[in-house]
Symmetry: C2
Subunit: 478 residues, 2 copies
Amino acid sequence: MSGEVISQIEKIFHPRSIAVTGVSDKSDRLGNFLLFSFMDIGFKGNLYPVNPREDRVMGLRCYPSVREIEGPIDLVIISVHPKSVLDLIDDCVAKGVRAAVIFSSGFREKGEGGTRAEAEIVRRARSGGVRILGPNCMGLYSPSCGLSFFPGMPKEIGTVAFLSQSGSLAIMLGLFAGGRGVRFSKMISVGNSADLGVNEFLEYLGYDPETHLIVLYLEGLEDGGRFISLAKDISLKKPILLWKVGETEGGRKAAGSHTGSLSGSGEIWEAAIRQSGIIKVENLTELMGFITAFQNPYLPAGNQVAILSGPGGPAVSAADACEKEGLRLARLSPETKSKLAEFVPEFGASISNPVDLSLSSSFDQTLYPRATEVCGLDKNVDMIVEYISMLKKEMIEGIMRAQERARKPIAIITFMEYTTIESPLSRFFGYITREELTDLLLKMYRSGISVHATEQEAARVLASLLQYKRYLDSRNHL
Amino acid sequence: MSGEVISQIEKIFHPRSIAVTGVSDKSDRLGNFLLFSFMDIGFKGNLYPVNPREDRVMGLRCYPSVREIEGPIDLVIISVHPKSVLDLIDDCVAKGVRAAVIFSSGFREKGEGGTRAEAEIVRRARSGGVRILGPNCMGLYSPSCGLSFFPGMPKEIGTVAFLSQSGSLAIMLGLFAGGRGVRFSKMISVGNSADLGVNEFLEYLGYDPETHLIVLYLEGLEDGGRFISLAKDISLKKPILLWKVGETEGGRKAAGSHTGSLSGSGEIWEAAIRQSGIIKVENLTELMGFITAFQNPYLPAGNQVAILSGPGGPAVSAADACEKEGLRLARLSPETKSKLAEFVPEFGASISNPVDLSLSSSFDQTLYPRATEVCGLDKNVDMIVEYISMLKKEMIEGIMRAQERARKPIAIITFMEYTTIESPLSRFFGYITREELTDLLLKMYRSGISVHATEQEAARVLASLLQYKRYLDSRNHL
């Protein structure tokens, strides 16, 4: 059965032709947005707008119905009034369509009537050989397959997959993390999961050779046991990051997920998660930071951290944050200290851990790279935190060169918003353009250097890399 | 005694003339930076560079020593080698200087020799009537007084004061929060606090009519009892935000503050803080978010929160975050629900709390403002959280108009980094320039609308406003 689902999903991701309903040339409807998204990402196959009252939509020939399109249709995008969805499914069955993405909402999430309508859709689709994604979802995004659900999603192909019970989060992650140099293999917004759901796609992503890191946003689950069992095995090959919501009474009500879901039982869920190698996060900002760290991670051998900083105050705060996460400040070796003393300024600085590079580090772009290399090569150091108030190009390139020798996790805390602003200070410090920054970030992630908004996030991410390393070790010793 | 310190500090903040040492016209030394900072902020009095080997520095006549400047000198900025500081203090005494900011480091923080040198500096300064700020500090910033310690600090005058044991943090807060529309009354970087320290400046800020909100970054304290006693009273007039580091063993070592400081005793400190009305934060990002909320806050009457969101997933996460902070999801009144039903879309949306405005809220800029007004006027609602993936101008202006009627705390979670980027999406959603955004943010803070990076921060800030309200109530009932 499993192999069959994987192969069905693989085909859904590689349609030769797509029909898009709910479009109009007269007003900007959501179907237009979806149609435009396929054009924007560069879908290579045939695109067919469907609307019985129009001849052309967005420059393409428009068809009165799915049945009347000549040639085979692999995928149909359904974004019409919920009452019209069932008829469209019948059209799909008649046409021999492989799969339909039901964007339309107004089903299970709207109570009993909606639940019945949803069940009938699934019954007819299944008996007619059509697999369903949704309803109440955004669908699929994959730059390698030319699929998208929103204009402006990254066109470059990456290795991060996002599987989400919220469509808008998939869009936000694509746009925002994309702007920070994160590149995705696939995104799946499953919505109500009436047919294909989280477990099916998780299994698929575990198989998908394009995907090296799996990211999940979940509100609830139908079959938690299956999920945990899948996660345990997939975690051995690819890290899994999970943002799970609906963990409080208010959150569960908000999620509207009362039935049969593991979310009902916080402690059991927590224990199962811990034992499956899954790494938890709790908001979009943190999720983006964790993605940068888990894309191509060096896993730490132990919990000894070196902290490098220009500003002295944040270094102390970073030390607090690390210790609260169970990390310990590494005792730098005498050789490391004497090497640091060769270039760290005499005043307003420190060669003990945290290594304080002083305000001079804002002027001299070699200080961070040299300290990174010296501390990274110290056997007492398992991982490095660097607090850098403003990233600069040469500095980052230097840290990446140091990382080629150090090969240890490096988590950088910085204020990216300000790095790309030209200001009176640029005269002294220079600045990076947005394009340069995105390009630099992409390279940083690939060399095991992550970027974070706070010292607490950096500490959590390093502790999580260690937790993941220990999970792998524990499973390999079985 | 207290009145005398306040009046001395008031005079230090209003110098008629400043001498800056450690400057050179041949190379960019840190003294140049400090001199340029006074020019940049527009200091109205006389500026005198001091260097025996130069005639002119940065276009100004340069003096061989402080003693040889004609006319009175109120403030001297000392940024020379630590070994030369004592001679400069003697010059200050001889010249009748009122106060000296010792930027130079290499004193108490460098061990016993430094501690002795520092003590001798204070002894000679005190006996000669010179008050000392530092050593190892950045000094003073105040746009109304024309004082600054870094180029590019905001020139506009505000009501937020920052008192810091880290100079670089003062710079970062000024530049970064300044870029987000936060305006300051005064900043004081106290450094080693050899003479004037945290308690003296805290008392001064409690008095300072220009300051309405006091923000502290502390690593340790000499006299914690005095600090708590001051905070208890000042909190009644002005909220106090505190970022306290050195709370773990590693952090304390990093802070280098072992002696006589409250930081040695976590629990006692925590209890004292709780009883003094102080609001705690734990990193720079959170500090900036809390400043936006406490600048001109509406204080909530209770813990009932309404959540408004376009993206559905984050609304669930916001519900979790609020409940974990002790807030509860308000039960919206039937009238509120029927008013919401008039404009909230039928599908993909919800008029229960959290109110889901759906993807339509990205296209229709009136949805957030209308929902804000309706929920804000509901008696069951004490405060509002709004998750807005991208801020837009009309939307924000509409929310501010709604707030004029609602008058309740509103915390907005958004991704500011992306609001000001022109992209293919701007065609559909528009975008705000950085200047427009800064201006809008400034107005938002003034109308009791705060801005945050995560739902957890928004929830903590609302819970903190409630905590502050309860502190005021408890003291007023004494």
